[in-house]
Symmetry: C2
Subunit: 145 residues, 2 copies
DNA sequence: ATAGATATTGAGATGCAATCTCATCTTGAC
DNA sequence: GTCAAGATGAGATTGCATCTCAATATCTAT
């Protein structure tokens, strides 16, 4: 029998409250806020359990970044910032039948898909533009020296 | 100036020859076959350089899996096996304008996207079915004991 | 309520990929 | 050839993730 313990509840609570797709390490930190004594093993174990039980999902966003967890288990897509790693849920469903098409095209037995959009979030975008301007004015200054 | 050294050439060669989206560790192993003395630092460094130079791409396939490298830098999508991690390139482009739509919908400055299809590759699928049958016949046997 | 079986926990050890450091070596320009 | 910039690789280090195991908590049957 699988038990509902305070530790497990805390992990799930954190996951449901989070809308930023935290990594396991971030979940661990947050859970510690509520259950200071909880161990890393318990948090990692619980995350795996939740995923196995269909209560959570693992995402591999970003490039070579750690796995990120999401309590939103319905099919959805992601927009993510290549600078700060921020991620948000969006909907960009493929036409009905696209999954079946791809299955027969590849011979794989495909059961799910998702679309990842990558670019810069508004705040990183502003920052990037500001830095760009600055480096241009630096160039001018250096030329004139 | 950026130099083309035998080590860097070897890493790029391995990447171009590979069609299985190897992880950095796998690239390292393969490069060692040709350049036994090459160090891990060099391979990891070179992979980052290649990505920065647009000669390669990093993918985050699978869930919590290590980053995987791909010398195919043109836009394309992936089908991947959730059991063995095999990945293949496919084309599943969104309608023209989808990227711009999503940008204006989210406020992000989006520059790329890709679709990930997940399921079982033909051989893992066969294996899974075989195991399923076996476990059923085991159940029967156990019941009759 | 109690005993015994089963499940869960957390500290610490371990594993492993990835990065960093730095002395040494290579390369290209002059 | 000489020199400066660039590149290399052994080994140390970091940091995430998993495993081990003794202690603890929880369930079930009586």
């Amino acid at each position: 029998m699988l038990r509902v313990t305070p530790q497990r509840q805390a992990v799930l609570d954190v996951l449901i409250a989070a809308h930023d797709h935290p990594t396991a390490a971030q979940v661990f930190d947050r859970v510690r806020g509520q259950q200071p004594g909880i161990g890393a093993a318990t948090v990692y174990r619980t995350l795996s359990l939740l995923v196995a039980a269909g209560q959570a999902r693992v995402l591999s966003l970003g490039e070579g970044a750690s796995a990120r967890y999401d309590a939103n288990v319905s099919r959805h897509d992601h927009v993510l910032c290549v600078d700060c790693g921020a991620a948000m849920d969006v909907e960009a469903p493929l036409p009905v039948g696209a999954l079946a098409d791809m299955s027969s095209r590849t011979g794989y037995d495909l059961t799910e898909y998702d679309v990842q959009f990558r670019g810069r979030c508004p705040s990183c975008d502003r920052l990037a533009h500001r830095l760009q301007k600055q480096s241009k004015s630096n160039e001018k200054r250096n030329r004139s020296v």
